[in-house]
Amino acid sequence: MPETTYIDAITQAMSEEMARDERVFLIGEDVGAYGGAFKTSYGLLDKFGAERVIDTPISEIAIIGAASGAALMGMRPIAEMQFLDFITCGYDILVNFAAMNSYLFGRACPIVVRGPAGGGTHGGPYHSINPEAMFLNRPGLKIVAPGTAYDAKGLLKAAIRDDNPVLYIEHKYLYRRIKENLPDDDYIVPIGKANVRRRGKDLTIITWGAMLYVADDAADELAKDNVSTEIIDLRSIVPFDEDAILESVAKTNRVIILHEAPLTGGAGAEFAARIAEKAFDYLDAPIKRIAALDVPTPYSPPLEAAALPDKTRVLQAARELLAY
């Protein structure tokens, strides 16, 4: 298959799953006639018709709610948030209804809620969210956050086939910046399984989403000083691959957790706590977290760049750990 962008990987996953399974449909704002705000669903209306590519009013509660109700009737809906920031409008339905139905009633709501997240595109405070932390504490919901085109496709297919509600966080900065050769054959990436993106022995960086590329740059730089960095691409936030984290920490004894959401109460705090609880004896230095500053994402490009994590901050943390 020719080189496929991250966004095309998402479109392909939806298209292939809809062709494979009539229970799958797409519902959201401007997903049909407009083709999606980012053109993620471009062409799907022509292929599958208006009953399966459903344009809705601006109604996040009803989008997630209707998807959940249809899921209770045996469907496999994909609900698009035009920007994942807007998921807060439908938060109640996702965490209190969709995520709890399995536990309360033994009948899960297999929906995928997906949409563009992340900063770096000067979207400003309402169009740049990394929302995983506000869903981390709500059992019943799975959360994935692909950082490659391969994973974007494979994880979305896995999410659609999963019997549970899955929050699928796609990073809009990567939409057209990432291109990969994808397999021709059908494949999925299992939810809950991390990818060791780069093997190393001196230091571990645990990360996901667009921060993979910040980690890559930092690791390249460190390699010049003969520092061997292991990069764990978590890919799934819930459930997360604890074994992969602990194995890497046991090997390198030094760890940086890198994420794009703000520091305080971020998902990294949970991973740091797990490492402290389960791998304390392996640590040769404190756990470091590199994250966005605890501010809303500002619009101004220089301010935004200052708020988001970058290579310089990762390198500084790495050198502190190595010198500890």
Binding site: P57, A62, G65, A66, G74, Y103, L104, A108, G192
Partner: protein, 350 residues
């Protein structure tokens, strides 16, 4: 409150002496006795948390549910015991749920507000006001998508009409109705109060049925204390919705004789006189009187029904009491569904 019109559907009246009506009376008496039993068990501390009973509103549950057929789906709010019982859920398992026992319809993990019994068409009592309207609209869409002629009934209180999910669900249902893709009957259980806030104090427009017109959904009021009226409207509306795939809204004007919840003892938001006045229009007495006058139902007949109902409610309490607590491993069961093609959970890795 605007006057609800009386249904004078002759088919309903002609059939008033059919044995079915005696069964309906029996069922309503049973719901009443069941609810009274739950209130007693709550006071004894056997039922924990929060308890909301349907006393005074029985005709709304029985009347609408009676018009449904197999495959139809019901969604409702937290005042959900009567819907479950009307749909045919096992009263023992409903009571056991209220007791938090493993034999409950939701395995003791939901409680009073969260009954669920798909086998009988109940897709949930939901404890957060209004959210279930959106689920019900999506369920109705799915029914049509799947080529089924089933309908969805969605009950909600007058208070639910002021939360955002109501407006989003109604608008979407109205739109989907244009394509015949939303076979849903919305039932407003207008009992006059959102908890303790009266309709006049919570809704800028007090003609509630009129409010759905804004979403191009037709609606009408019905006297929710008169089971003949409710059933008459329900038969017609359910048939129509099944045929057209267009949503419809029934505002059942009713009244709850009990407090909002079991802890609502003082009821400072309404007077005793007001409650007494409404008690004169007890839905059970209205039906009973009619069957007595028209069909010769005797006091002894009613007494026999009542004894049956009391005993059945007592048996449910006994069943609930004697049932075991949920098994300890139930704590972890079903947090996520594990039977799918690819769910990889932490538990599976260990």
């Amino acid at each position: 409150m605007a006057k609800a019109k009386k249904e004078s559907d002759s088919a309903v009246l002609d059939a008033a002496c059919a044995p079915e009506w005696t069964e309906i009376l029996k069922q309503m008496i049973f719901i009443r006795r069941f609810e009274e039993a739950t209130e007693r068990e709550f006071r004894k501390g056997k039922i924990g948390g929060y308890l909301h009973v349907y006393i005074g509103q029985e005709a709304v549950a029985s009347g609408i549910v009676g018009a449904l057929q197999k495959g139809d789906a019901v969604f409702c709010g937290y005042r959900d015991h009567a819907q479950a019982l009307s749909l045919g859920s096992d009263p023992n398992r409903v009571m056991a749920e209220l007791f938090g026992k493993g034999t409950g319809v939701s395995k003791g993990k939901g409680g009073s507000m969260h009954l669920f019994d798909v086998e009988h068409g109940l897709y949930g009592g939901y404890g957060i006001v209004g959210g279930h309207l959106t689920l019900a609209a999506g369920a109705a869409y799915a029914k049509r998508y799947q080529g089924s002629d089933s309908v969805v009934v969605c009950y909600f209180g007058d208070g639910a009409m002021n939360i955002g999910s109501f407006h989003e669900a109604m608008n979407m249902a109205g739109l989907w109705g244009h394509q015949g893709m939303c076979p849903i009957v919305f039932v407003i259980e207008n009992n006059g109060y959102a908890m303790g806030t009266s309709v006049e104090r919570h809704s800028a427009l007090t003609d509630l049925a009129a409010r759905v017109r804004a979403y191009d959904i037709a609606g009408e009021k019905v006297d929710g204390q008169d089971i003949f009226a409710v059933r008459g409207v329900a038969d017609r509306v359910v048939r129509q919705v099944r045929e057209t795939g267009k949503p419809y809204c029934i505002e059942a004007v009713t009244y709850r004789f009990s407090g909002h919840g079991a802890a609502d003892i003082l009821q400072p938001y309404r007077t005793k006189e007001e409650v007494e006045q409404h008690r004169h229009r007890d839905p059970i007495n209205i039906l009973r009187k009619r069957l007595g006058e028209v069909c010769g139902l005797t006091d002894d007949d009613v007494k026999a029904m009542d004894e049956w109902a009391i005993e059945r409610a007592a048996n449910a309490v006994k069943f609930a009491e004697e049932s075991s607590q949920p098994a300890p491993d139930e704590l972890f069961a079903d947090v996520v569904a594990e039977h799918g093609p690819r769910p990889v959970s932490e538990d599976e890795r260990e």
